[in-house]
Amino acid sequence: MTTPSFPRRPILAGIAALAALVAAPALAAPAIGKPAPAFSAVDSNGKTRTLAEFRGKTVVLEWTNEGCPYVQKHYNGGAMQSLQKRAAGDGVVWLSVISSAPGKQGYKTAAQANAWKTASGAAPSAILLDPKGDVGRAYGAKTTPHMYVVNPAGTLVYMGGIDDKNSADPASLKGATNFVVAALDDLKAGRAVARPVSAPYGCSVKY
């Protein structure tokens, strides 16, 4: 009964092709106006951070990847850093999240993350290390940068792109409408966030 199974190879190739087509389970989609997904992650100083500890403060989550040209657009000219400083000045907690898996672009150990923070002059409240991608998946983070704003009550009030210019070209910063700035301004003024969602752009998060 052992008959030659000559067709196996092309079929295996077919299976492989199919495997390539099959996406992993879709990311969770957090919702505007609903409690932001809770998380617990270790930061670059070895401290475990949770969303709950920032209750009462506005929290910005920024997905980042140093090697991504779109992230570089915002860091190389100091735009992101000044945004972080401005937020800190307003008492806003800024969490930069690295969800790159080990070995993938943007992955950083705690020491590397701190070195990068120093070198780039970045000023987040903390850099969360999420090598397993748990925080990223909970938020449905797709790109770097991908931005989320949580109000003091823990409600998600903004998610999407950092601005309206899907480009890695630094020249595109000029004249761009920064949605995070707009959301923070709305919160500061006690208004509802006028533009709570936008399409994120950038490199894919390297889960």
Binding site: S5, G14, I32, P69, G160, P196, A199, C203, S204
Partner: protein, 705 residues
């Protein structure tokens, strides 16, 4: 005169001058160039030009909506005053998974056409060099923005330029392949049933909608990574989408524009918020397409080749091999009688061909009459199974030496070239085909599946090819004296071989008894066992008579008993076994499964659950072997548990129109058929007919992503 001369001169210039020209620029991970459909352009003329990318293997560039990440390819022209260029005519994108994300883009070669219009005052006779800056985001695992400054040189001529040159055809093909606007009506609704997009219109009526997909122009309307459930309707389809960001905002979208992939066609649609057309749903998901080797697209030559190969493999099946081995061995002693051997070979071939064609004819006639039948259909009828069982028993008893057919084995040589020998060979061929029917060999399935969807002539050809492949080894032995000489001289070994080979035949008889038990229950089994014993008695009596000169009484008794056995096995009709269908194929392992139903499958696919479907039958040897050597293994059970895949089993032991239709959909005429549906719920992969544990496990893992 002057004008004509000028024209001639211009023509000459056009011949000498460099034609539409562009130097490809290597930007690092792709080569980019501007190409044109014409070599020249006339004042006021609009021609087709294109940005061509040759992307490195493994790297991608992006569609107008890049999906979850990435950035669309851009171009910015620097044109002299009065010249203008249109937007890209985007090619249909490919969904490109990246971890949990899905992007829309291109790989390999992509041509993005656009129009280029010269002003009415363009200087005739001059060449113009047009410049454009192209920006690409090229991604593999990582993304790199790359730029290229490109040039296109065209000659301005008085007459309108006609398409010519190397790129005329590729650009025409790209324009042809681009999604087109069609007479389609599209609406969408976002409510507690999710976001649904309904599209109706003539192009979708009766279209193959497998693999349909909606690519939105706006990156914020749907979750690109979520599978899109397809439901067909009388006049179109409804896609189940997962709403994204835009629907969370204060002003949810009122329009969703994009490209609908319907089967292999791409249409540009603009869906309005509003009630869904009832004509766009109600018919369930489309027939899946095969990812592996299947009948779809199998042409006649390939089907014939598969049929020959399948026929060859049939020789090795356990119910066939003993008969053929004995017949071949009987030739051995008579290698010197080359002519007689050849005749026997031909008679055998004739027997095989006649039987295959008769079966094919019956099958085609039954199909034409509207019956849902396929290969192996004979075995769905209990009387046929009972008859085959008795036949196997008779052959086994013969091999055991209980009785002889015609001349005895020892005397077979004298009759080799005789009529009796030829008839014997012919009927050996008939017998071999009859007993081979349960064994659908690999390669046979696609060929037969193809054949049964073809006109009768093509179908008969395929069956004939199957017969030729089946008969080939025996005929080869008969025709090649060299081979015959290699067979050992006859001797006592032949008698031993014959008696040993009786046992696979007893096994085949026992197996058919089991099949009948599943079909007709314990009462049927008791009846067949009784018939078998009476037949054995008849055979013994007949054998006894063969040793004597005056044995009319014995022969008469044998004939009466034999007839009694056969008749009692065939008449009256068997009652259907009371046991539940799915039990029928005898679950060999504790592998948890659910009975197959189209509804259950559709449900699971809509839920995004991977599904393993096994179409099997008790009478299908290959199916049973696969159950034992692959499906009953622990690895498969673990893979099912790990991937959360659901195992559906469709039992074809008895006639089942639903299963026959499902087999036909996948281009098959018989079992086994193994399908693996992935989470996306779209087109299943068809596994080979011979399974291994690893193969099933890998397929399941692939399907789970």
């Amino acid at each position: 005169m002057n004008l004509r001369f000028a024209g001639l001169l211009l023509a000459l210039v056009a011949l000498v001058a460099p034609a539409a020209q562009a130097a490809p620029v290597d930007t690092g991970h792709l080569k980019a160039e501007l190409i044109a459909q014409t070599q020249a352009i006339a004042p006021g003329q609009t021609i087709q030009v294109a940005l061509r990318q040759e992307i490195d293997k493994g790297w991608h560039t992006y569609w107008r909506n890049p999906g979850d990440s990435g950035e669309a390819t851009k171009i910015a022209w620097t044109l002299p005053a009065g010249w203008s260029a249109g937007d890209f005519v985007w090619q249909p994108p490919e969904p490109q998974p990246a971890g949990p994300l899905v992007n829309y883009g291109y790989s390999g070669e992509v041509i993005l056409p656009m129009t280029l219009t010269a002003p009415a005052n363009a200087p005739v006779g001059q060449t113009v060099t047009l410049k454009a800056a192209a920006a690409f985001l090229v991604c593999e695992e990582i993304c790199i923005p790359e730029d290229a400054l490109l040039e296109l040189t065209l000659t301005v001529q008085a007459q309108a330029a006609q398409p010519s040159g190397r790129w005329a055809a590729p650009i025409a093909r790209a324009l042809e392949a681009a999604p087109r606007k069609a007479d389609l009506t599209a609406t969408f609704e976002n409510n507690d049933q999710g976001l649904r997009l309904a599209v109706t219109g003539a192009p979708l009526t009766d279209a193959d909608l497998a693999g349909s997909y909606f690519f939105p122009f706006d990156g914020a309307v749907i979750d690109h990574a979520a599978p899109q459930a397809i439901e067909r309707g009388p006049q179109g389809l409804t896609l189940g989408l997962t709403p994204s960001y835009a629907f969370q905002g204060p002003e949810p979208p009122q329009v969703m524009a994009g490209v609908l992939k319907a089967g292999d066609a791409y249409y540009e649609i603009e869906a309005q918020a509003g009630p869904l057309s009832p004509e766009a749903s109600g018919l369930g998901p489309p027939a899946a397409r095969s990812g592996g080797l299947s009948a779809a697209g199998l042409g006649l030559p390939l089907a014939l080749a598969f049929a020959v190969l399948g026929g060859l493999i049939l020789n090795l099946m356990p119910c066939v091999f003993p008969i053929l081995a004995m017949k071949a061995a009987s030739l051995a002693g008579h290698a010197h009688e080359a002519q007689g051997a050849r005749r026997q070979g031909l008679a055998f071939l004739a027997g095989v061909l006649v039987t295959f064609l008769a079966l094919a004819g019956a099958l085609i006639a039954a199909q034409a009459a509207g019956a849902a039948v396929g290969w192996g259909f004979q075995l769905q009828s209990p009387p046929v199974v009972a008859a085959l069982c008795l036949l196997m028993l008779a052959v086994a008893l013969n091999l055991s030496g209980v009785f002889e057919i015609g001349t005895s084995l020892q005397g077979v040589g004298s009759g080799l070239a005789s009529r009796g020998g030829l008839a014997g060979a012919f009927f050996t061929g008939v017998l071999a085909v009859v007993v081979a029917a349960p064994c659908t060999a690999p390669f046979m399935a696609p060929a037969l599946g193809w054949a049964l969807t073809q006109p009768a002539a093509a179908a008969l050809l395929v069956f004939a090819a199957l017969g030729i492949g089946f008969a080939a080894p025996f005929v080869a032995v008969a025709f090649a004296p060299g081979l015959l000489a290699k067979l050992p001289r006859p001797g006592p070994w032949m008698d031993h071989l014959r008696k040993v080979l009786a046992f696979p035949m007893y096994g085949a008889a026992a197996w058919l008894l089991w099949v009948l038990t599943l079909q007709a229950g314990p009462m049927g089994q008791a009846r067949l066992l009784a018939a078998a014993i009476v037949l054995a008695l008849a055979a013994w009596l007949y054998g006894l008579s063969q040793g004597r000169s005056q044995a009319l009484a014995l022969r008469g008794g044998a004939a009466v008993l034999g007839a009694l056995a056969v008749l009692s096995a065939l008449i009256p009709a068997y009652q259907s076994a009371a046991i539940a269908g799915p039990e029928a194929s005898g679950a060999v392992a504790e592998l948890p499964y659910e009975p197959y139903s189209a509804q259950r499958l559709a449900e699971l696919r809509a839920q995004g659950t991977p599904v393993f479907v096994n179409f099997t039958a008790a009478w299908c040897v290959t199916c049973q072997v696969n159950e034992q050597v692959a499906l009953a293994r622990e690895g498969v059970a673990e893979a099912l548990a790990e991937t959360g895949a659901v195992y559906l089993k469709g039992d074809w032991t008895r006639k089942d129109e639903v299963i026959a239709a499902e087999l036909a959909r996948h281009g098959r005429a018989g079992v086994p058929l193994y399908l693996v549906y992935d989470r996306a719920g779209a087109e299943p992969v068809i596994l080979p007919q011979i399974l291994t544990e690893g193969l099933v496990v890998r397929a399941l893992e692939a399907a789970a992503g």
